[in-house]
Assembly symmetry: C2
Homo-oligomer: 570 residues x 2
Amino acid sequence: MHGWTGRIVIIDLTDSRITQTKSDTAILHSFIGGRGLGVKLYCDAIHPGIYPLAPENILIFATGPLTGTASPMSGRHVMVSKSPLTGTIFDSSSGGFFGKELKFAGIDALIIKGKAKQPVYISIINDDIDILPAGKLWGENVRSCTHKLSPQGHVACIGRAGERLVTIANVMNDYFHACGRGGLGAVMGSKNLKAVVVKGDQRPAIADEEGFEKARQDALRLIKAGPVASKGLSTYGTSALVNLMNYMKILPTRNFQNSEFGGADRVSGEFIKEHYDIKGHACYNCIIACKHIIKSGALEGHEIPEYETLWAYGPDSNNADMDDIIRANRLCNDYGIDTISSGSTIAAYAEIMNEDITELSELVKKIGENEGLGKELGKGSKALSGSYGKDVAMHAKGLELPGYDPRGVLGMALAYATSNRGGCHLRAYMVAPEILGKPKKIDRLTFSGKAGLVQIFQNEMASLDSLVLCKFASFAVSEEEFANLLSSATGIDYSTEEFLRCGERIWNLERLFNIRAGFTRKDDTLPERFFGSGGINRVEFERTLDEYYHFRGWDENGIPTEEKLRELNL
Amino acid sequence: MHGWTGRIVIIDLTDSRITQTKSDTAILHSFIGGRGLGVKLYCDAIHPGIYPLAPENILIFATGPLTGTASPMSGRHVMVSKSPLTGTIFDSSSGGFFGKELKFAGIDALIIKGKAKQPVYISIINDDIDILPAGKLWGENVRSCTHKLSPQGHVACIGRAGERLVTIANVMNDYFHACGRGGLGAVMGSKNLKAVVVKGDQRPAIADEEGFEKARQDALRLIKAGPVASKGLSTYGTSALVNLMNYMKILPTRNFQNSEFGGADRVSGEFIKEHYDIKGHACYNCIIACKHIIKSGALEGHEIPEYETLWAYGPDSNNADMDDIIRANRLCNDYGIDTISSGSTIAAYAEIMNEDITELSELVKKIGENEGLGKELGKGSKALSGSYGKDVAMHAKGLELPGYDPRGVLGMALAYATSNRGGCHLRAYMVAPEILGKPKKIDRLTFSGKAGLVQIFQNEMASLDSLVLCKFASFAVSEEEFANLLSSATGIDYSTEEFLRCGERIWNLERLFNIRAGFTRKDDTLPERFFGSGGINRVEFERTLDEYYHFRGWDENGIPTEEKLRELNL
């Protein structure tokens, strides 16, 4: 088998049983790998009504046909389960090196079932797979746990937040890369699974080496030529967005009560560049190196936060103290807490209390320890909002929105509302055309054409998440090159259309799961705050949603029609 | 002044008066140049009801702020008038070197008024401008006329077709580059103007040399990295499309009676590559060189036809004889006849007669000479169809459709219908996303999102036509780089949004002209053949048209609202 490894490993923690099966080639061809494979395996195994933290739930790690290959940005893996935060099916992908290593160990998917009696970790060295006692690792945070396990291989683990089943807990790999957002860290914690450490030495087989090299060069040339990836992201990382969002007046401030922040410049990429001595950090096979680490000074070794974190702990929390944000980010990474959800929930709490939060790091610790006020905040903004009876949760389907005010980016508004994992900017990556004008500039202030485009971007992102490649590639590389990489790696001929069709298939399968889990059209919406005077016109929004359903081949309630499912072989 | 020259030359042929004025800077800033400037000057001067071949009509040659600069693909100029074929306002742009030379002569726009008593040509050598007797040049075809005038400079002229007021006559420059489609050659002929020959030596001034060089390098890097421009077009020219269109089953065959052609391979780019010894030919400052010339053999010196010509004289005319098509193309270029319109009208005639046309070259000559059957064919397919009482004209607003079956490319269908110069693939360049997947692959078989996208592409193309740059740049270069080139050349700061807003302004002004000329919603349509069973769903089409109007800010009859016009300062 080429591209794929053909091996699925199933670990049942309840009875410590390790089995493996061959990957079903029909499923691989139709769902590609990564997110698609994980979602398909998940849906085939689990009833949508399951309680996410029940032992009967499963947690999947998946690699894609391009993971670990020489393709640019190919160090990624995906996790899939049902989210304790949103109640939807949930996939989350992460960069770094863990995914590449899992692939080198010969694994398409690793399925974790059941619940260990005592805390354990899983060790994978090629074909040698063991369930080992976590011992004193349980109770440790991410940096320390990773440090201790890293001699054995690349590590994905939870921090104290995941152990304590904090609803917004991440699974972290390679120290500070996160499978974030939906609380999959809590799912992992609920299984008494502290970590997976993996070492492999089997390079993925490539079907057509010459064709693959050509496709790889095509992609590399485009990435180098494109200004966003080759310049902006390399120099500033995503922090370059802060000043731009503020200039466009779509930088959500004080829990989306405003969309411009006086202190934006002090939490911007430009500020970082000037005031910190930083070096780039690249994931496996990436020429961009968008992450940055502080090289010297008081915060030496600290990570420079991503845009979303800068925003959530900065403008959204009415805070312009960069050192403070860097420290809070470091704590989140160490506890394994999602920065958007925690920052946004803190901002919602500040609005409820009508006061600014000054002790950010203290709050992060409390969330991680799941104690005191942290216990409330760790459940996310929707739960917080409910318990205070105040409508201050800036979320969609329970997932906190990221840092792009939907009132000023209408495609993004539709993307938040229709996202099947909740308020997320990565499902339909509308940041690219609406904000950065890549690959094509479109008007962010109209719903014109957005129903169709959001759908196209959603399908493409589902396909990309299945390869698995980084979304940043899509600023410069188009579907043709992705399909060529996939075809030459696997030896299966994917046209551009078929490549995108796989994404549509995945999206529809996820939708079906959510519908069966109880989600309806009513959930495809945004907080009240965004509608009405000065905001989004509700009639236009609903009409665009109608149009989106229509073009998706769904009925007026957003349920996929029989015809559409037949067409997609679902 | 930077980028622009600031000079408009007005030549009244009726009384041989040559005057010049300064370009209005407010107009330049708002309409950019080229198409935008030409359309604005035309609309300010002419009543929409004018008869296109009347002496009172005017004919404009315009350059843009990037014409003749070091920007890639900057050798283009635009012609604007009212079309005798469509009755709409009509602009047409052409590559080669004439545009660059006109710019080097210091001209933003050359306005031709009136009608000379005897045939004349215009000579421009920088500031020396003369109206000279055409003498024996009148009666000569394009090659010979160009050859005789070329010692004096770069030549734009009409062939015998234009002299004879053939409704589908082109203006040709640099031997075989055409301002084609709308019969502007007949407008030129109606003025007794045989040619314009121009020589200049004033390089355009650049406001910010360093910024311009950076923007130029950005654009070049992207063009070189992109596969369509750097590989496909360089190797095959647009002929690469023949086999692709056939494979996609959207290659219109026998006057759109079918969409697949058995002999496609024999009129394909691959066939040309194998059977002819060819060399590339580049326009001014172009690294692609999409045109090809035969280097040796019986057809030495002949041009390889563009895709549209290969299609119109090939599949659409049920003809797979490549030598035959090459000869017909050569004759069209020499007489100055539009290849799409003539080929398509011949195909319509073949359908009326229910027989294949064998003597293509003979028919082209007759069209050029405006005699016999050629007299009927030279009026275009709509007139032909009318005179035979058969509904066989494959046109929109009187302009023959190009070679992409709208039943299989629905964004293109909407683009044909809403194009303000009639059935044209260049107004909204939907070939890029729907067929070539650049910059992003979208589903060609749905109207999903097309209303919005067609509008975006129409606006962008209007802006590009105003710079003036070649549309092929847009496969790889995005609005950001175009705006940077424009800003650094002129010293006027154009954001990406403002750059596109100019295109929207131009589009709306053209629409206003057409409405005042009598066009209504009923004209925003396609031939009956394309609707119904196996074709386009009329309800969906009309709904998409409604949506298109809505998002354009037009009323349900397609008339721009007061509010929209105010917003655009129109």
